[in-house]
Symmetry: C2
Subunit: 498 residues, 2 copies
């Protein structure tokens, strides 16, 4: 614990001298790896209470035209560097929330800056294509050297989208079309007159009463189809019409996992049986099961690889499409490029959706039968944004250059060890510490969670919660051991204030 208390001193000294940047001389930092960003601050800097006067004034101004009640902090992105986010009042925080888990390689990453200035970027910004009709000459190349370069094993095709919600919804649409095509007897079968007529009335058989099975506490987005599979919190769903789709129980594991192996295995078996029962019995037939590798908005709920292998088997056995929603878990944060890489599946998911750290969105698939049988069935005007696809390619290049997936696995292990020590020291503030071996995708429950998150800024860190009682860590992939040290000492500082 020595290093934590030493650097706690360092942090406090920084905080007494607003405006000053301090180069740390603590031994654990001298020994640490070289920072990825030459110009990154070496510690948080607190200049005012947060929100400070400039932030308050700017929020009041913005409120006139844009709902600001969800604002966390107005941000000066020009002064944000690497893992550090700056506000308008001179405060600079270590950011382990990272735009709701969506910044992968740091603020003002120099390589992304080059990408942003490239001729391809400029042309894609000013000549936005309708990708389904008029893709650019180099669209295949952009996909192959970017989005598809990191395609999950077994999946070699992509439908591009704008964000997590529409990535999931277009995946659901692909599953519904696939399901009905199978019922109809194959891709060459024509639609019946009854289908053609009834769909214009939003009635079956043309608009069939099929369903997507999701899990309790799941989050898959907030548009009408995705929201019907989202079961995180009432506030996400209230007053919005929803489809009558089934939900299964997600395993509720007991921690530490080592001490509850048998109970947890039984819990997962129970949940799997419920999934299969719902698939067989639900009144609106199930076309697909969608699941997050870690339920990320719903409270950082984990399940074992065996559970997910079980899901893959059940969906296969029942001819149901298996959709893995990697919107929050994908792109390296769990110490694998895709979180489902941890599962050792015998056959890949049918569909994997992505967004957030990819900075663009879409779904991967491999089975050619998941391409609808006719053109224009899966289509919209823009079908994504090549500008954001270029940014993802730049992100992939950074990840490869710096080895950020393996790096995150290692930093995550280091961070997890530090949190285990804190959990031993402050057991009342650390329940169900989880995410071991999952990179920096770490969370724990704490009875005063909202207070904890609110006090974090005063301790120099920007941190988020998930579900009812979890603190969730979502550092960037460029988060290093010296950042972990600062985070650990900040957490201890917050705990002492609770």
């Amino acid at each position: 614990m020595a290093s934590i208390s030493r650097s706690s001193l360092r942090l406090r000294s920084v905080m007494r001298v607003p405006g000053a940047r301090t180069i740390s001389t603590t031994p654990h930092l001298r020994a640490a790896a070289k920072p990825f960003f030459a110009d990154e601050p070496t510690a948080p800097k607190l200049s005012t209470a947060i929100p400070g006067p400039k932030n308050k004034a700017a929020a009041a101004e913005l409120d006139k035209v844009f709902d600001v009640r969800s604002i966390n902090m107005l941000t000066d992105y020009s002064k944000s560097v690497g893992n550090y986010i700056a506000d308008l009042d001179g405060n600079v925080l270590l950011d382990v929330y990272a735009q709701i888990a969506s910044i992968p390689v740091g603020y003002n990453n120099p390589h992304l800056k080059q990408v942003a200035q490239s001729p391809e970027m400029i042309t894609s910004l000013i000549n936005r294509p309708a990708l389904g009709n008029f893709p650019s000459a180099d669209w295949a190349e952009i996909l192959k050297t970017g989005i598809l370069k990191v395609a999950p094993k077994g999946l070699d095709q992509v439908f591009t989208a704008m964000a997590g919600s529409d990535a999931n919804e277009t995946a659901y649409k692909a599953a519904f079309m696939y399901y009905r095509q199978r019922e109809r007897g194959g891709p060459e079968k024509e639609f019946s007159d009854a289908e053609l007529e009834s769909t214009m009335q939003n009635q079956s058989p043309g608009s069939p009463q099929l369903s997507i099975l999701s899990f309790k506490s799941a989050f898959h987005g907030r548009l009408f189809g995705s929201l019907s599979t989202t079961r995180s919190k009432p506030i996400h769903k209230l007053d919005i019409p929803a489809f009558d789709w089934p939900q299964a129980t997600f395993p509720s594991l007991k921690y530490p996992l080592e001490e509850h192996a048998q109970e947890n295995a039984q819990e997962e078996q129970r949940c799997l049986q419920e999934v299969e029962r719902l698939i067989k019995e639900y009144h609106n037939p199930v076309a697909a099961v969608v699941v997050e590798p870690i339920q990320s908005e719903g409270g950082d709920n984990h399940a074992s690889p065996a559970f997910f292998r079980g899901l893959r088997e059940i969906t296969k056995r029942n001819n149901v499409i298996f959709i893995v929603d990697e919107v929050q878990t994908g792109v390296g944060a769990t110490g694998k490029f895709w979180a489902h890489d941890h599962w050792n599946l015998e056959s890949p998911p049918d569909i994997v959706t992505f967004s957030k750290k990819a900075q663009t969105a879409g779904y991967y698939y491999g089975n050619p039968a998941l391409r609808p049988n006719k053109p224009y069935r899966q289509f919209n005007t823009w079908m994504g944004d090549p500008s954001r696809a270029l940014i993802f390619r730049g992100i992939i290049e950074e990840i490869e250059r710096l080895g950020l997936v393996e790096h995150t696995a290692q930093t995550g292990a280091y961070l997890y060890s530090g949190l285990e020590r804190l959990a031993q020291k402050y057991p009342e503030h650390f329940q169900n510490l989880r995410g071991k071996g999952q990179g920096t995708f770490i969370a724990w429950d704490t009875p005063k969670r909202d207070e904890f998150v609110a006090k974090a800024k005063g301790a120099g860190v920007n941190i988020g919660g998930s579900g009812q009682s979890a603190v969730r860590l979502r550092p960037m992939l460029v988060f290093q051991q010296h950042h972990a040290d600062i985070l650990l000492e900040s957490i201890e500082k917050i705990i002492k204030q609770l």
Copy 2:
């Protein structure tokens, strides 16, 4: 008609000399206004049959990873300028389809190029914010000098989105929350336990069985909520579950309008009565009516300002939100900035949605009660993309600098007159010519529509259809009289081949 045949010769001569660019010396061009783009081609250029060998090879390569069955042409954007789109084989076409009506100020617009290289653009590309939580310091300024500068009269607030579908769906969500809040007795009323519990089951009262009323032949998007209001073609809807929402008949006007004034007025009254009847009687109560000023995918179906004023009155009288979907009609193409500016409404729509030519998306509103009563009810991670908001600001600057709305009204009148002449000459190919006084937002029906559109490229123009039998013109706002001349001569050339 003299000028048409003169420049037909010019076009043909260009087409006999692949690779050559020809500066026209025909009198009507010498007299025309100065081109907006100094380096824009003066005529289409055909080098190969379309698609040519390079385009075919590139499409085959792309097909391995991306569904290409809807591809119109692979595009060389670096060689596309102003109103002209270039393919990979050296063909350069006058583009009056413009990425499905979404390019406003020309390919490689020099001002947008400056915007794309600006420091604000670079920071927004590489530091993508979660706009609801961490907006940039200048977000209010970007909104006020951009998106909100052109806000429809009476609407001074915006919720930003990614594309037309989610712009409409978030508007629907706002309408549903507003409707239930009124039922509940006001914004300060808390949700009941029954609501909190039932919404997690996707059941009412928490997930109420409310509806959005849309019109037959309407197009509002292809995600689950928007698709439930889309009634354009079966292929858009088949196999996808839909909400049980009502559809009213959209007026079917007879042309020429002057000769059928009384019939058309009666037809519109009939449709309005149906709307009011559905609002009063439909089993799933109607929270909002959504309508396009011109049904743009469903066949370029128009209605009179009186019809829309009637809709505004009916929705007001019945406490139903009136949503105007300006995704395709907005941003100048009808000769007004917003198509609903043509209606002279006494009170503005409750919500206006936008996308396409805005290059970003969202919905405008004015009534503060349309902000949900609690934060995080209308929310998602990115809530749009500031990069695209900056592009829209640049577009607005170009529109103002060049007076492109008034310009489009004038060019549209010129083009419409030319089409009237062609319609007189070839009545069998021009039915229901429409869009008079609606800028360049012009269409007509023709019995061989698909063949017409297919042959257009061979005549040097890229042109699209809508609905079952309409040719729709969707030139950019930088479309000028000399482009209209080329388009008119190309249309005549196509007709002669049918």
